[in-house]
């Protein structure tokens, strides 16, 4: 596709779309740099949710009445938007879940139950979020299988040679993050998927930290499963997506039982509904799915290329600015980075720094970021993490740097 339009972001206009960005914290304009935890929501998303409740609310896939039909259209419309968003072949491959965590649990449970046996192996990486560790640990305990971990180097890049060596005839599934939530590493997942596929091993990608920042094409990646959350990409909490290839999804047993996932039920036997409804038991978070659809529309209107180029420039600026602050050490210096910059301040625990920054109006995350193994690897208890979205600015990076100087002022007094 040729692009003639100039790929830029009018950041002032974009910021006006997010009502919360106008507020103050402790008397200072809010600088929101905790986007990897959850992003803020544009007016379009907030309005889509209230408009749904004000004019279309009903249960989906149920009634013949006007509202139920309308709610179903909106809900299934959101599924189609999610399909296009990751370029899946068909909407039936898009399962709505609460978020990435539930998506991974669904696969670990359903795929695990049907495919993973005693002595089998599951491969994950050293930089997983706890949500891509614990479901697999639980599976391995149930099945008496073994969890293997792809190591990384001190820069926060995975070791591909070690990855190749870990894969063997006992490996049943590989689960990897496209982008690390604590280091910002963008992993070469297309290559890693191809390596696994040489042995016909399916791969699940945790895309929670990828979809807010760049275009994802599950078919180009050849991903078997791809999980992401709506709330980290400007949608509401409560709706996320599990993409799965149709053949795989068809072969999996149901995860949860209940209404909506069945075709017919008698006390003797139940037959299950078609994809993707078989994996959506009970009334879903309809409003959240519609909100996610609105978030996708919003991102499309800004444009992925514009988002990616704006953010890569901004994050590079933040990396340089933070690295040049005396006493600041970056944690993770990966070859390719998206969205996240983790750092420590010499002699200052992140919990203390985070609080002083808060008093300057700056929201960052201080802690282990649900990646305790990553903290152990770098032999630190926690980091400060600044994480960015396309509504952040260089000026905000400068305010972060200035506020770190105040942290040092308090602690070096």
């Amino acid at each position: 596709m040729t692009r003639t339009a100039k790929q830029t972001i009018d950041v002032d206009a974009v910021r006006r779309d997010f009502p919360i960005l106008a507020r103050e914290v402790h008397g200072k304009p809010l600088v929101y740099l905790d986007n990897a935890a959850t992003s803020q929501k544009p007016r379009a998303v907030i309005d889509a949710i209230s408009s749904y409740y004000e004019s279309s609310n009903a249960n989906v896939h149920r009634g013949v009445h006007t509202l139920s039909v309308r709610a179903t259209e909106l809900y299934e419309g959101a599924r189609e938007k999610a399909r296009a968003f990751v370029n899946a072949s068909e909407a039936a491959e898009i399962v709505f879940v609460r978020g990435t965590t539930e998506a991974i649990n669904l696969v670990a449970y359903s795929f695990g139950q049907s495919r993973v046996r005693a002595g089998d192996e599951v491969v994950i990486s050293a930089m997983e979020h706890h949500s891509n560790i614990v479901p697999w640990q639980l599976l391995c305990q149930r099945a008496n299988a073994k969890l293997r971990v792809v190591p990384m180097d001190r820069t926060g890049d995975l070791l591909l040679d070690e990855y190749r060596k870990l894969l063997n005839e006992r490996t049943r599934i590989v689960a990897l993050p496209q982008v690390s939530n604590s280091l910002g590493t963008v992993n070469p997942i297309a290559e890693m998927i191809a390596i696994a596929h040489q042995r016909e091993i399916p791969v699940l990608i945790d895309g929670a930290q990828a979809v807010p920042h760049f275009r994802v094409d599950v078919r180009a990646l050849d991903a078997d499963f791809y999980a992401f959350s709506g709330h980290k990409m400007f949608g509401p909490t409560g709706a996320g997506v599990l993409y799965a290839r149709r053949e795989l999804l068809e072969s999996l047993p149901p995860y949860q039982g209940g209404g909506d996932m069945i075709a017919s039920v008698t006390f003797e036997k139940t037959t299950y509904n078609v994809l993707p409804h078989r994996f959506e038991a009970g009334t879903p978070d309809i409003a959240a799915a519609i909100g996610l659809g609105a978030a996708i529309d919003y991102m499309n209107a800004i444009g992925h290329d514009a988002i990616e180029s704006y953010e890569s420039e901004l994050v590079a600026y933040a990396v340089d600015a933070l690295a040049s602050v005396s006493g600041v050490t970056l944690v993770g210096t990966p070859k390719h980075r998206a969205g996240v910059v983790s750092f420590t301040i010499n002699g200052v625990h992140p919990h203390d720094a985070g609080m002083i920054l808060d008093h300057e109006g700056i929201a960052i995350r201080a802690g282990h970021h649900c990646t305790q193994p990553v903290m152990d690897f770098f032999e630190i208890p926690a980091t400060n993490r600044a994480s960015f979205a396309f509504y952040n600015t260089r000026d905000e990076v400068d305010r972060l740097v200035a506020a770190i100087a105040k942290v040092n002022e308090v602690f070096r007094a």
Partner: protein, 151 residues
Amino acid sequence: MSNMRELYQEMILDHHKHPRNFGRLAGANCHAEGFNPLCGDRVTVYARVEGGDIRDLSFEGSGCAICMASASLMTDELAGRSIDHADKLFVQFHDLVTGESAKSPDVDALGKLAVFMGVREFPVRVKCATLPWHALRAALKDGAKAPVSTE
């Protein structure tokens, strides 16, 4: 920044940078670990208890300035004191940092510990300040059960 200065008092920063009684205690007969999963603060308190008295006290671990300074000052205040005294001081310290008690804090009884008064303005930091105290209480519970060399 003024309330930051009230929280991060000179004495707190000093005990954070130069913690007293830091390290494993030789001859300890009880210890317990306190862990705050929210921020990763981790403190192990060691005590040598004889009869109803805390003969000696130390701690090790890592955490934020409030937590480390609290552990350092606590071990300073309580070494050589009775378990009864430690229990009473715990209640007063808890009231001091939470501000929950209707009574104003007994600054005389608290001594140096009164420096943590600023914590009450920051509810999320109460756990940081009290973590070493909870670890101490757990250790002393063990110690009460442990065979004591005297008596």
